[in-house]
């Protein structure tokens, strides 16, 4: 797709820039085909093609151009796509590299960029003051949801979110290092070079495609006699091959967390035309560093004057970067407006490149004579102690009006571009995120790192060290110190000799001339959220005196650029309006992320199959082949029911219950929690953890155990088998497995560390196959070796060890259905084969597989509770009518004192009972409230609620359980369940609906 166009845009300046004119790429902007050079950002490519107008502003829909050349860009937010699924809105054109075939579209305009109907807001601007939405759309209240909000949402906002699923993949990497250096400008490179020599692990990150920072656009400075580019290239070459050094380009450190944990996001393929599909689009790095060196530099501020936002108005540093780094001039007749020396260097570079400079306006009265001399030598028109008070040009600036700072007299000067500088704001974002405290540097109008809380140090421009020679020395010293603190031996590296470094002196924060309290002009401080100097003053006047309130009321600094350029101006204007000093007003909090981070990078591997763990039982493949429908229980997939052709859930569950009761059913109980409790003190421990007595439980016998919390409420339950004097096989609920083990370990480690008893989770060691029903024994008997399954030998609630299908088994005779039943534990890898062998035997005998729903129905028919369904953390064993499981002679167990509390032994507690609807076919809704008198005036007193409710095919009527105030004493009473369209009458009954004598389990 490459073309042979030599210059890739009419604004390329031959012999300037670091890009090769031989390598061109083609892209489209608003469907217009354009050419760029490889390495161009979208911004430099657009400027090369003469385009400044790239978007419309957020609130007033004012035409906006490219303002910066870096991550601080508030205006040039573009929709970038490769194809329909790979589209991303709000990409900063100043950091997005152009790739061959890239499609870029401007945003927030309709129908086109140059004619936008939303711009009417600009004319109506006086009616959109700060807090406009808060003040206006208050009435009528109902109109907010249906009228105002949808319209405002459509009109406001930035780009449109992509509609298709993201087809790309993302990666995550944890990393550790001795020294993490953030920022690869002069200071960062010097620190890296020094730290690397020690052999300690060093990571150097920079958000740009190339290291160098501001050096990349500095044509003047000489380091050890070399150009900035040469010195940078040599420095990188010196450290890049070292095993102890990791260099990360296109990587932004966006979050600084406690204990020197720093999050980085690396853009891996965003700049590639044809990325390898195996490469992640972005990679998240979570770095734990012993020491962090912050070399994050400084960000240039704009100046606050009337109509300072026209396309063609840019930061001076951006103009310099476009010329020296990309070989692009932003204009051909350029005005400069500055309060800082650094813009003079930009003017000199442009002039030397043959670009006309219409005037260099500096609002300062005193200027460094060296600068004045050089300006004179170059023939520049210098207007010191002057200000720009207005600009003209609808879609691009075409003139500026200059006035003396202290006097009258306007001069209109035609220009096609205006470069401005209000000085530099040190990037203390990450330092501040690390909970470091900043201090105000009055003399230079900036906040600087003051008190550190993490093991980090700031060097260079982010530390206010603007002179390069000092910054390099500071960086080298900091690296030596960091290596020492990380336990290494630092090696001295001599910083290079610096010549011809440019100055960053001078600044202006707050409104410039012509944007004062009495001037009715739009002088923007926050370009992305369209906040003007006037808005800040209005907020203060209306009573918002805290800077945090001013921020929220005006939304200054709240856009995606987080006010990188605007915060200091907003603060200065607020302070001036309040009549306070800047440190008294304070700074808003810096929060992660430093620049926007995609959800993809944060999610990394955790999507699709890896979104969460899906736990499958050993017999999952079998149940899947049988067409089971699954329910999620925690992370487990459990077979819910097994529909046959034409069956709905109701039919399947009814059949599964009926078949199990009449013949047999096979059930996958593998997810049950299992804990092996072993040691001479095992029985003592069991006595403590469970309400039941365990001393007399014989080896080979089982018991249903109840576990309470200290407050006396039921925590978990399960059947426990005693395998030997000192070994118990404890089962827990599926969901309760981890917390039960945790609670047991907690008691053991904190209260009874001297006891000789140990706990091991064996939940997944054993696959559990439940075989229940009158034919259960007949089915499994031929497969079992070494265990007498007869009713006399293996009575209900017994356990024996032997073999089934030639593999070891812990075979429990127990029942959660009320039928004769077995739970066959086999080592998990054998689960499916043993299951299949049992199925082969059972199927001809009429056995059905049944799922968790049928299991729930059958246990409810027997009145067996499910902890967490029939109990809710306020139910005692007495309330649940399982107080028979409390050892009456026991002197201690967890919950024993809780159970004696007056409220827990009081009359009238909510107790678990059975409920039988008067009309047999009505199935109650679980959770439905129960009342005594449905005709009682509202509010009707509630006496309880339904906890479990099913259709019982075996009994031919519905069954339910519920908790009712004083329920145990109310057998036979009628209660009412008011529903939306009817009131259902039900009788309180014994919850054991099926086989109340309980003979069937002993069959």
């Amino acid at each position: 797709m490459s073309t042979s166009t030599p210059n890739a845009g009419s604004n390329r300046i031959a012999g300037h820039g670091r890009l090769s004119p031989a390598k061109t790429v083609t892209f489209t902007f608003d469907d217009k085909v354009m050419t760029a050079l490889e390495g161009d950002t979208l911004a430099s490519a657009l400027l090369a093609n003469g385009i400044h107008l790239v978007g419309r502003s957020f609130k007033y829909h004012r035409p906006r151009g490219i303002l910066s050349a870096g991550p601080e860009e508030p205006n040039a937010l573009i929709d970038i796509s490769r194809d329909s699924a790979r589209r991303q809105p709000n990409v900063r054109a100043t950091v997005q590299q152009v790739f061959d075939g890239m499609r870029a579209k401007s945003q927030n305009r309709y129908p086109s960029l140059s004619f936008d109907v939303g711009a009417a807001n600009d004319v109506l601007g006086r009616f959109f003051p700060a807090g406009f939405y808060y003040k206006t759309f208050m009435w009528p209240k109902q109109a907010w949801d249906k009228l105002y909000e949808p319209i405002i949402r459509r009109a406001a906002g930035l780009g449109n979110a992509p509609e298709e699923a993201d087809p790309d993949h993302y990666a995550n990497r944890f990393a550790h290092c001795d020294v993490l250096i953030i920022g690869g400008g002069a200071a960062g490179l010097m620190a890296a070079r020094t730290a690397a020599k020690s052999g300690k692990r060093v990571i150097l990150v920079d958000e740009n495609p190339d290291f160098g920072g501001a050096l990349l656009s500095d044509n003047t400075v000489r380091l050890d006699g070399k150009s900035a580019d040469e010195w940078t290239t040599e420095t990188i070459a010196e450290i890049e091959h070292l095993d102890n050094v990791t260099l990360l380009r296109r990587t932004t450190a966006f979050g600084y967390y406690s204990h020197n944990m720093v999050s980085l996001v690396e853009q891996v393929t965003e700049h590639m035309a044809q990325p390898d599909p195996d490469l992640p689009r972005e990679r998240m790095w979570q770095v734990r560093a012993k020491q962090v060196i912050l070399a994050t530099g400084a960000i240039e501020r704009h100046l606050v004057f009337a109509d300072n936002d026209r396309p063609g108005i840019m930061l001076a540093s951006a103009g310099q970067a476009y010329l020296n780094n990309y070989g692009v001039t932003p204009g051909h007749n350029i005005g400069i407006y500055t309060a800082c020396d650094s813009a003079w260097a930009t003017a000199f570079d442009l002039k030397k490149a043959g670009i006309a400079i219409a005037a260099l306006v500096d609002c300062r009265a005193e200027i460094d004579p060296a600068l004045l001399a050089e300006a004179e030598a170059l023939g520049l028109r210098v207007m010191k102690n002057h200000a720009i008070t207005s600009t003209a040009g609808r879609l691009r600036i075409n003139s500026m009006t200059v006035e003396p700072v202290n006097g009258e007299g306007k001069t209109d000067i035609p220009i096609d571009c205006l470069l401005m500088s209000g000085g530099w704001t040190p990037s203390v974002h990450l330092f501040s995120q690390s909970r470091g405290r900043v201090a105000f540097d009055e003399a230079n109008g900036r906040f600087l790192p003051d008190v550190y809380t993490e093991d980090c140090i700031s060097v260079g421009a982010c530390n206010g060290t603007n002179e390069m020679v000092e910054a390099l020395a500071e960086a080298a010293a900091a690296a030596e110190e960091a290596i020492k603190s990380a336990g290494g031996k630092p090696k001295k590296v001599k910083p290079p000799r610096v010549e011809h470094a440019s100055s960053m002196n001078g600044f202006l924060i707050g409104a410039a001339k012509g944007a004062g309290p009495d001037d009715f002009v739009k002088a923007f401080i926050d370009f992305q959220n369209d906040v003007t100097a006037k808005d800040i003053r209005l907020a203060v006047t209306e009573g918002f005196h805290s800077i945090e309130h001013v921020k929220r009321y005006t939304t200054t600094g709240m856009a995606t650029d987080q006010g990188k350029m605007s915060n200091m101006h907003g603060l200065a204007i607020a302070a001036q309006t309040l009549g306070k000093e800047i440190p008294e007003v304070g700074l808003t909090t810096f929060r992660a992320p430093y620049t926007p981070v995609t959800f993809g990078a944060l999610v990394a591997h955790s999507k699709g199959d890896l979104f969460d763990v899906t736990r499958r039982t050993p017999m999952h493949d079998w149940s899947e082949a049988q067409g089971a429908v699954y329910e999620d229980v925690g992370n487990w997939k459990r077979a819910w029911y097994f529909p046959q052709a034409g069956e709905d859930m109701h039919a399947a569950v009814s059949r599964e219950c009926k078949t199990t009761r009449e013949a047999a059913g096979i059930f996958d109980a593998s997810t049950l929690g299992k804990i092996e409790v072993v040691g001479p003190d095992a029985v003592k421990f069991m006595n403590l953890m469970y309400t039941n007595p365990w001393d007399k439980l014989g080896v080979g016998r089982c018991r249903y155990g109840i576990m309470c919390r200290e407050d006396g409420f039921i925590y978990d339950d399960g059947v426990v088998g005693r395998l030997s004097e000192d070994r118990f096989h404890v089962t827990t609920t599926t969901g309760g497995a981890p917390r039960v083990l945790n609670m047991m370990e907690d008691y053991l480690q904190t209260e009874f560390p001297e006891w000789k008893v140990w706990l091991t989770s064996i939940s997944e060691q054993w696959a559990v196959i439940g075989v229940q029903g009158p034919k259960a024994r007949e089915i499994i008997e031929p497969l079992v070796e070494g265990i007498d399954l007869s009713n006399e030998a293996l009575t209900h609630m017994s356990v024996a060890e032997g073999k089934i299908c030639g593999v070891p088994t812990r075979l429990f005779r127990m029942s959660f259905t009320g039928e004769t039943g077995f739970e066959i534990n086999v080592p998990a890898d054998y689960g499916q084969a043993v299951w299949e062998a049992i199925w082969e035997r059972g199927e001809p005998l009429g056995m059905t597989p049944y799922g968790t729903e049928a299991m729930h129905v059958m246990r409810a028919e027997k009145g067996y509770i499910i902890v967490g369904q029939d109990t809710d953390g306020t139910v005692t064993p007495h309330d649940a009518a399982v107080d028979w499981a409390i050892g009456k002679k026991k002197t201690d167990f967890v919950g024993i004192r809780g159970l004696k509390r007056p409220d827990l032994v009081a009359e009238g507690r909510r107790q678990l009972v059975g409920l039988k609807t008067k009309q047999a076919e009505i199935v109650l809704e679980e959770g439905a409230q129960i009342v005594d008198d449905p005709n009682h005036p509202v509010p009707v007193p509630m006496v309880g609620f339904v906890t479990s409710s099913y259709w019982s095919e075996s009994l031919g009527h519905s069954i339910a359980m519920g908790v009712i105030d004083g329920g145990h004493g109310r057998m036979g009473d009628t209660v009412y369940i008011p529903m939306e369209n009817e009131v259902i009458a039900a009788e309180i009954c014994n919850p054991v609906f099926y086989d109340p004598e309980g003979g069937r389990v002993n069959g």
Partner: protein, 180 residues
């Protein structure tokens, strides 16, 4: 009747490429041993493997490995023949606990120059040779799964997890390996 067939969730899985190979570890005997230091020393003698007392270290001998998991806890891994439990259950009157977890856990071997990068996609531990040398082991996390990680050689790791987590762990490893 033939004995029941053993099916492991990682059976027949393989991954290779991008400087890393993944392979399921076949059946092993795995015992969770809990004992005090004195008893552990005696049990180590019986087993022929000196149980490690240095936190996070592993000792291998004669095909058996003892991994230090906690102050009184070791994970013993050996051939799938029951010899560890047989030996330990014949040690007389010592007081300790063994629980068979041969089927609870399964494992993956990760080999190749990119193995640490792949593991560090989901495991936050420092896996440099200085911080996690050969013969180190650790109970740690990989993504959302609890695992035991053991470094066998410079570029060979053994990653143990619970059976039902193995599908997740394997897929995570493969996803990470693809983009390592």
């Amino acid at each position: 009747m033939d004995n029941a067939m053993r099916i492991n969730p990682l059976d027949e899985r393989m991954f290779g490429g991008n400087g890393v190979s993944l392979a399921p570890v076949g059946p092993r005997e795995r015992i969770s041993l809990r004992a005090d230091e004195k008893t552990a020393k005696a049990l180590g003698k019986a087993l022929g493997v000196d149980l490690p007392f240095k936190p996070g270290s592993a000792v291998s001998k004669g095909g058996k490995t003892a991994l230090w998991i906690g102050p009184d806890e070791w994970l013993l891994i050996g051939p799938d023949n029951g010899s560890i439990s047989t030996t330990l259950s014949q040690t007389g009157k010592q007081v300790f606990s063994i629980a068979d977890i041969s089927h609870r856990n399964t494992a993956v071997t990760i080999t190749g120059p990119n193995s640490t990068a792949v593991l560090n996609s989901g495991c936050p531990r420092d896996l440099s040779l200085a911080a996690f040398p050969v013969k180190s082991c650790s109970r740690t996390v990989f993504g959302k799964a609890e695992v035991v990680l053991w470094r066998i050689r410079k570029e060979e790791f053994h990653l143990e997890c619970w059976r039902s987590f193995s599908d997740y762990v394997w897929k995570y490893l493969a996803d990470a390996a693809r983009s390592a």
